[in-house]
């Protein structure tokens, strides 16, 4: 069974700081998605990465897919309080997607 481990589990930073969160697997990903979940809501898709070494940018968020497709990272530049939430990675294959354990981020004003 493929497992997705995310680190760190919790992160509390000041507004304006940069941060990176990680998603790692013991197996090769077919593809990987990142979601953000705000309190009281369902997760919202941020990005899908497919190709090893791929880098995607979404405003202040930079997503990277490892060359070997076994890891991924999400870097946030100049974090804002609106970035607060639970960040989840997800790998997909057949019908049964697998979620990572999540990184809970709090950005303090």
């Amino acid at each position: 069974t493929q497992l997705l481990e995310q680190s760190p589990q919790f992160l509390s930073i000041q507004e304006g700081e940069n941060l990176t969160v990680y998603c790692n697997s013991s197996s090769v990903f077919s593809s990987l998605q990142w979601y953000r979940q705000e309190p009281g809501e369902g997760p919202v898709l941020l990005v899908t990465v497919v190709t090893g070494g791929e880098v995607k940018k979404l405003k202040r968020l930079t997503f990277q897919f490892g060359d070997a497709r076994k890891d991924s990272s999400l870097h946030i530049t100049a974090a804002q309080p609106g970035d607060t939430g639970l960040y989840l990675c997800l790998t997909s294959g057949t019908y049964k997607y697998i979620f990572g354990t999540g990184t809970r981020l709090k950005v303090l004003a």
């Binding site: 369902g42 899908t48 049964k96 997607y97």
Partner: protein
């Protein structure tokens, strides 16, 4: 227009009673999923559907059943609710498998007392 709605948003029920949660979509997506989210366990798949009347079990399906009689509706039933089923339940839809993303509903917070 949310595209996917869950009802009810909150429910308190007694141990041993049946409970049905509803997921309704307006996107005409083929795939629908039920997840539960618990502290320390993350999101876990309960059941999923890949078409009308086509469903299959996820990793935590014991004590749950589902039905999908129409493309737009996916029902999750707790046959006899237990306290261990206290959780937040999310429905998700997907246009396809593989690289297609999920769209999630806003969740149902269920408390079994």
């Amino acid at each position: 227009d949310a595209g996917i709605t869950q009802s009810p948003r909150h429910k308190v029920t007694e141990t041993g009673t049946p409970v049905t949660l509803r997921c309704h979509q307006t996107e005409n997506h083929r795939y629908m999923y039920w997840y539960r989210q618990d502290p320390g366990h993350g999101l876990r798949l309960i059941h999923y559907s890949y078409g009308v009347k086509d469903t299959d079990k996820g990793e935590v399906s014991d004590g749950y059943s589902v039905s999908r009689s129409k493309t737009e509706d996916f029902l999750l039933t707790l046959e006899s609710a237990t306290s261990s089923q206290t959780s937040v339940y999310f429905c998700a839809i997907s246009e396809g498998i593989g690289n297609y993303g999920y769209t999630f509903g806003s969740g149902t917070r269920l408390t079994v007392v």
